[in-house]
Structures are given as C-alpha cells and as structure tokens.
Amino acid sequence: MLAAPPSLSHTRRMSVDKEAHMRRHHDMGGLEAGPVERREHDYAPWEKRVDAIMRLLSDPKRRILRVDELRRGIEALGPGAYDELSYYERWIASIADNLIEKGVITIDELGRRMAEIEARHEAERAKGRAE
C-alpha cells in the first residue's frame, strides 16, 4: 500500500497541470461532459467514400497516408474545427491537407475539380427541378 493517500497531492498537481501544461483538444479523457446522446445515423454515401479513400491510401500496397498522419492532421485542425465539423468532415479535411503537403495533389487542381463538381451538381439539380 502507498504510504500516504495520493488524492491530495494528485489534486493539487492536477490543478497546476491545468495552468502550466497544455492539454490538447482531442485528448479528452476525464473531462466533464453531459449525458451520452445515444445518436446513431446511417452513414451517407460521401462519408463511406471518405472512409474508403483512407483505407485505400493506407493500404500496405500503397502506404501513401498512414493512420497516424490522418490523426495528426485531425488534431491540427484546432479546437473550433474539431467541435464544429462532423467525424468524416474532419477526416476529409485531414486527408486533403496531408495529400497537399505530400504533393500528391495540388491546391490548384483540387480547387478546379471542386468547382467543376459543384457546377455539375447544380446542373443536375436544375435539370431535376425542370422535369
């Protein structure tokens, strides 16, 4: 058995830690929070696509992006983004950042393709409304 109860010095230490030692936003074990909302949702096709993209990129055949890099990219999004974005929004944001950093895709081509897809989608929607 320990010679003295740990609680007092541990409590004092934990309050010093809070001031002096940064806790990163994603590192949330032990923080206070409300009840667990038993939410579930069927994953949307775009979310499954993100998941599949990550699995393909991290596949031992390709090893383009490791799961550690994905996590680090998510952690680097910062507290605001972390809380506001959904799970797969965080994933695709990190994947895109990582791929740009690695030179697999360029910002220029990404931006152009996103604009093209948006235009395509809007055209489909307009067609759908016209029919």
């Binding site: 074990g29 579930e40 775009w46 979310e47 696509r49 998941d51 990404l110």
Partner: protein, 218 residues
C-alpha cells in the same frame, strides 16, 4: 429502455430507427462533400486507385456488421478450446470461421463473474470495425470519450446497464495499436440453444461492453 433489448429483437443485425436523411441530391453540396468527391476523382485520375477499388472498399465496409463478432462469441460460448484461441489471437481465430479481421491486431477481453469490461478510445475512435462494422455516433462523441474513463458506472447506467459493486469494472482505453472486443458472459437460460440462436443474443453494444446479453425469452 435498454439498448441491448432493442438490438436483440433484431437478432443483433438491426438498430434503433435511424433519423431520416434528407435526399442529398436535393441540396447543394457542402465544402467537405465537394472535397470528398474531388479528392476521390483526382486520386482515380492519377492512378492511385481505380473507381472499382473505391466501390469495392465501400461494398466491403457495408458488408461488415456486428454479426461477425457475434459469431465469434457464440462459438466461444460453445467451444472452450476455440475460446482459448480467440483470447490468444483474435484475428487468427476469426479466420477459422471465415471472417477476415484484417491485419490490425484485435484483443478480446473476457467478461467474468467478477469483472466487466468496457471499451473506449479517448483520443480518437479506434474500434474493431472489421468485426463490428462502423461505430455508432455515440462511441465517437465527446461525452462518451471523456466520461467513460472517469465514471464508467454512471455511463453504463445511462445505457441501462447496472454493474453490482462486487463486480470490478475494467475500462480499456484503446490508445495505440490494438482494437478491442468484449466477450460477454453467456446468459443463464441459454443452454441447449444452437450457435445461430446464441449469436442472436449478442448485440453490438455487448461487444463494446455498454450492455450485457439479455436472457433468452422462452
């Protein structure tokens, strides 16, 4: 209402009713949806993978469900030697039943009369997806990730699971290389049930550890 009870009516395959998802085609695409589509298309254009690869990955993930984990549990309940092999090397034991549990090592932790296990990943959302399918939103939520390590009994109670004081609660924080599967205890009154029926008692929540299998109805 116990989550475990909802799931056992669906024999481990169903879920509580899901919220209606508005038809995505009727709405403008969000920034992140555009990003997802553009990244996918560019990677196919560059030959990193094919459209077929992408579709196959999605289909593979769609085919994963808690039924795989439940099969392992049911076999472990009826075959003591298999149970030992499951505890020794879960991925290899899964392969015996034709289940591809992938290369990330999965560790099975066994509930005992004096110990109840429950899994969380406080740092992200590590989960044995190849045996249970994609995780539920709540597993990835701030409330679950922050509170399960600190007040597991209170969180378990919110799930309708009361663990008596003389049973130890053991929380596993999935921080590194392993993923975890809880092997629940076989419920009383299940003698004489065949493996398929036993698997029907094992819900996803039992294998995360937030629930225990219901005793079978007679």
């Amino acid at each position: 209402m116990s989550g475990a009870r909802d799931h056992s009516h669906d024999h481990g395959h169903g879920h509580a009713p899901h919220p209606f998802q508005p038809d995505i085609e009727d709405a403008p695409l969000t920034h992140h949806q555009l990003l997802a589509l553009a990244v996918g298309e560019l990677l196919v254009d560059k030959g990193v993978f094919t459209g077929y690869d992408l579709r196959r990955q999605i289909e593979d993930m769609d085919s994963r469900s808690p039924a795989s984990g439940a099969k392992l549990v049911a076999r472990a309940w009826t075959d003591a030697a298999f149970k030992d092999r499951l505890l020794q090397d879960t991925n290899k034991a899964a392969a015996e039943l034709g289940i591809d549990a992938g290369t990330i090592p999965i560790m099975t932790v066994e509930n005992m009369p004096d110990t109840h296990n429950v899994i969380v990943c406080t740092l992200c959302s590590c989960y044995p997806r190849l045996l249970l399918g994609l995780p539920p939103d709540w597993y990835k939520s701030r409330a679950y990730r922050s509170r399960m390590v600190r007040e597991p009994r209170a969180v378990l109670a919110e799930f309708g699971t009361a663990i008596p004081g003389d049973v130890a609660v053991k929380v596993h924080d999935s921080t590194a290389e392993l993923r975890y599967l809880v092997l629940p205890m076989r419920p009383t009154g299940s003698d004489g049930m065949d493996e398929a029926a036993l698997a029907g008692l094992v819900t996803r929540d039992c294998m995360i550890g937030v629930a225990v299998p219901d005793a079978p109805d007679h």
